[in-house]
């Protein structure tokens, strides 16, 4: 092992820190492994924490070290990620100390699942990860990009890797937002082998970015013998990206959605972002159009005022009316409102069911015209009604086989 430096630090300590720890490692010439543990949970977990530290040192072949660990109730996956982050600073080890994958995290995702809500979590904050899944977002995004300080990128990769294996996502789609390329390609090494479902590619402006990410994922899949594909969700955050939206949306069959990032986009446009968002109306409708043309989902930006639930509600309603099928969130309390708004209302479902009934009846009778009451229904309206009914069935809002379904295929 080649020495780079003797002392390394990682993590964070302090009176307000919860579920995290601070690690200071000093390589020594002799004296064996000396652990100075200061932990809030020492009386309950002191010996298991020390055991974990010893295991990590043994794994990396470190025999003489002085460790200071200030622990604010960090779970083992966090402690080992922080330790590994320090070890990587003082050695050029190629090894990774990877915790077990819990059984609950071994589920796959599917291409056309709902993505109404995706909860963003800062990739270097273990506290927020622990309960994210119990709030039932459709997706959880562990973010390696904007929410992680440039000097903490490596720490965050290790923490996100461990979280993908150890934190129960409770069925949410498992997403990671990587950094802008080329750093983002390095990120992939730490996430692809750990059942990540969707990779979010920030500031996407051209097809070549998609191809680069895909190539790296393919390499990693081969290396780790992973057969399951990884979905991609490019984020459009620049004027150029908006102009290229359709090309990007149709660049790969692994792309399931495009998301729009209004904070960066308004900066790029040189306009002020407002709650009404008229300044980005063109960009958003263009993005929706591109997604529909490519047959993928269009996902709207986050609503950043977490205290304004009414504002959020209005925002989601507009979003849905423009054709978006989901939205990012930055606070768990936003999830239920987003779901409420994207889910079709009872009235919408009833109306759609009536139209479908009329359609089936007309088909059965061999009529060329569909009518509800005295009103003629055009075929595109039927198509939209069918989408609503299918959505309601998938969401469990109405039974799978409505008794009205008397449709028999015509020969």
């Amino acid at each position: 092992m080649k020495r780079q430096q003797n002392i390394a630090e990682a993590g964070i300590a302090g009176p307000k820190v919860r579920s995290d720890c601070y690690v200071r490692l000093e390589l020594t010439e002799k004296g064996g492994i000396r652990i100075n543990l200061d932990s809030k949970v020492k009386s309950l977990y002191g010996s298991s924490i020390e055991q974990l530290c010893s295991n990590v040192f043994e794994f990396f072949g470190i025999d003489n070290v002085k460790l200071t660990l200030k622990d604010s109730g960090a779970l083992p996956f966090t402690i080992s990620a922080r330790l590994e982050a320090t070890v990587r600073q003082i050695s050029d080890t190629g090894k990774e100390f990877i915790p077990d994958m819990i059984d609950e995290n071994k589920y796959p995702s599917v291409r056309d699942r709902f993505r109404f809500s995706r909860l963003y979590l800062p990739g270097n904050n273990p506290k927020m990860m622990l309960n994210a899944g119990v709030h039932n977002p459709d997706g959880i995004i562990l973010d390696l990009e904007d929410s992680v300080a440039p000097t903490k990128k490596m720490e965050a990769r290790l923490l996100v890797r461990n979280a993908l294996r150890q934190v129960n996502f409770y069925g949410s789609e498992r997403m990671v937002r990587i950094n802008q390329l080329p750093d983002g390609l390095e990120d992939l090494k730490y996430i692809i082998p750990h059942n990540v479902h969707v990779v979010l590619i920030p500031k996407c402006e051209n097809v070549s970015q998609i191809k680069q990410v895909e190539k790296e994922i393919n390499n990693l899949n081969k290396k780790h013998e992973i057969r399951q594909g990884v979905f991609l969700m490019p984020i459009i955050e620049t004027a150029l990206g908006v102009e290229k939206a359709f090309e990007i949306a149709s660049a790969s069959e692994n792309i399931v959605a495009l998301a729009i990032g209004l904070e960066d986009l308004t900066a790029d446009l040189g306009v002020i972002r407002t709650n009404e968002a008229t300044e980005t109306l063109y960009a958003r409708t263009r993005l929706v159009n591109a997604c529909k043309a490519a047959g993928i989902q269009a996902i709207d930006s986050v609503f950043s005022d977490v205290g304004d639930m009414e504002g959020l509600r209005q925002n989601v309603k507009v979003s849905k009316s423009l054709g978006f099928e989901g939205m990012g969130c930055i606070h768990p309390r936003q999830i239920s409102i987003i779901h409420e708004c994207f889910v079709p209302s009872k009235e919408e479902i009833e109306k759609a069911q009536k139209i479908m009934d009329a359609f089936y009846t007309a088909r059965e009778k061999g009529l060329g015209v569909v009518a509800v009451g005295s009103k003629m229904i055009d075929l595109p309206v039927v198509k939209r009604a069918e989408k609503t009914v299918n959505l309601a069935i998938k969401l469990g809002m109405i039974p799978e086989k409505p008794q009205t379904s008397t449709f028999k295929p015509q020969t």
């Binding site: 949970v41 009386s43 309950l44 109730g73 960090a74 119990v134």
Partner: protein
């Protein structure tokens, strides 16, 4: 310290047969302890010993304490109406120190972080020990085995019972009142230190040997309403300032913004809705904690949606409860502790906002009390075990950090729900066995955690109503396993043999002990 004789009580805990030199009875089970005999009788007084014009004013608190005969070994009581803004208890013991008095037993209705000032008097022998909640620094001090005597923790109702039954004979009660007349009639409603009510001082006024009322707002006779009656009072004192108004407002009386706690509150409200607990004319106990307040807000939404109202809400009042009263969603607030100025205003203005006391609401040795009439009580806990026993006074590391408050008394409500996180910073909250047993599991019905809801198997009626519910109903053992899966199996906290405090049950028997932390 002399050898203490121990006996196993009805919940299997080893408890002493003697505390601070006096015999005590081990806990026998809910409703198993019979009592006989008469209540404590304070001595008879005569008007001829008191000023005929009713003016009982003396110049200073020190003078009043001297006249009351403060001396070594006495029991002195104070009350926590001023919460963390209390200045009186600290002043009282500053005077005791000046007078060179030793070995006092402090009998507060609760202590707060502001009373850290008193640690010096515990160290120098002015105060022998505390019988009342020991929070924060005082709890830490006691947990380290530094207090000379053994602390005694009682519920608010248990405190009334102990005084009434003569278990604790108060020599001098010092009652701080926001408003008083020179005769001693007093209330907490008006003045700079307004706190709403003075219910925690009721027992002291009725049973203490000497009663001193201290106020920073002396009004001409009559001070009405007289929450404390002057006929019980020996001396009245006027001071510049009794409390720090900003700190009188309890820090916990704001609805939580934590998404995890809001989720607990939402699940709790949904549970109450699905099981029919929320119905027209129902009643609920609302605590001051952020989660408990949030439950109230969710109740409000459900009640508005259904067009129903509650007959009464019991517990600490605050602006949220007051708004429900004023919007006609509750007929009455039966207020035991007023947590903010909106509560104080409402109590002064609204006949539907009624002040109560531990006697009316909680005293177990009476002809009934209000707690049992409440449909649902939403309470907290530091730990719950697989037998539904709960702890509210210590943390899993063994440190004494909270008082019992009205918690034990509220366990007699028809349904008791504890919304608690499954773990806090790696510390499992649902455990094999609670560190300190403060409430027997047979009285605790529902544990709501963010990862599932456990219903006490004794409550078959609730389980029946939940059939077909999409709420995440699990067994308490499943919850415990889940906590351990996430946090790891905890080691047992290490304790010394020294008992630093005991936990009394509502009937005065000893439920558990708190030991010195190693």
């Amino acid at each position: 310290m002399p050898e203490t004789k121990l006996a196993k009580n009805a919940v299997g805990r080893s408890v002493p047969l003697e505390i601070n030199g006096k015999p005590v009875i081990p806990y026998k089970g809910v409703g198993k302890h019979n009592v006989a005999g008469a209540k404590h009788g304070p001595k008879i007084n005569t008007c001829k010993d008191f000023p005929s014009d009713g003016n009982k004013r003396v110049g200073t608190l020190k003078e009043a304490l001297k006249k009351a005969g403060l001396k070594d070994g006495m029991t002195v009581s104070t009350h926590h109406h001023f919460r963390n803004g209390d200045l009186l208890a600290n002043q009282l013991f500053d005077i005791a120190k000046e007078m060179g008095v030793k070995d006092l037993r402090w009998f507060p209705s609760a202590s707060f972080p502001c009373h850290e000032h008193l640690i010096q008097y515990l160290e120098d022998g002015t105060i022998h020990h505390i019988e009342g909640s020991m929070n924060g620094a005082l709890g830490r001090f006691a947990s380290q085995g530094k207090m000379k005597g053994v602390g005694v923790l009682r519920s608010h109702g248990g405190r009334y019972q102990a005084v009434q039954d003569g278990e604790v004979k108060i020599d001098i009660a010092v009652i701080g009142a926001a408003c008083a007349d020179s005769f001693g009639n007093s209330n907490g409603l008006y003045g700079d230190s307004a706190t709403g009510l003075l219910g925690f001082a009721l027992a002291d006024s009725q049973y203490a040997d000497k009663v001193i009322v201290v106020t920073d707002n002396m009004v001409p006779f009559p001070c009405v309403p007289w929450q404390i009656q002057g006929n019980y009072v020996d001396y009245t004192v006027e001071v510049d300032k009794l409390g720090d108004p900003e700190k009188i407002i309890s820090g916990t009386t704001r609805i939580t913004k934590s998404p995890d706690r809001l989720l607990l509150a939402e699940m709790t409200a949904k549970f109450c809705d699905e099981t029919g607990i929320i119905h027209n004319g129902f009643s609920f106990q609302s605590g001051a904690g952020g989660t408990s307040l949030a439950v109230g807000e969710y109740f409000k939404k459900i009640m508005q949606k259904k067009g129903i109202k509650a007959r009464f809400a019991r517990g600490g009042s605050n602006k949220y409860l007051v708004s429900m009263l004023e919007e006609g969603l509750i007929d009455y607030i039966l207020d035991g502790q007023t947590f903010d100025l909106e509560g104080v205003r409402s109590m002064a203005e609204n006949p539907g906002h009624v002040w109560t006391s531990p006697f009316t609401s909680y005293n177990y040795h009476g002809k009934g009390n209000f707690a049992g009439m409440v449909d649902v009580a939403i309470l907290g806990a530091t730990e719950v075990d697989v037998n539904f026993n709960a702890n509210v006074v210590t943390h899993s590391d063994g440190y004494l950090l909270h008082g019992i408050g009205g918690w034990q008394n509220c366990l007699f409500s028809k349904t008791v729900i504890l919304p608690i996180p499954l773990f806090r910073d790696r510390i499992p909250v649902v455990v094999d066995e609670v560190t300190t047993l403060c409430g027997p599991g047979e009285l605790i019905d529902v544990i709501v955690t963010e990862r599932g809801i456990a219903v006490n198997p004794l409550r078959t009626d609730l389980l029946e109503k939940l059939k077909g519910s999409d709420l995440p109903i699990k067994s308490i053992n499943e919850l415990k396993d889940e906590a351990e899966k996430i946090c790891g199996k905890p080691e047992k906290a290490h304790f010394d043999d020294q008992i630093i405090a005991v936990v009394k049950w509502v009937d005065g028997t000893v439920l558990d002990v708190v030991k010195k932390v190693r």
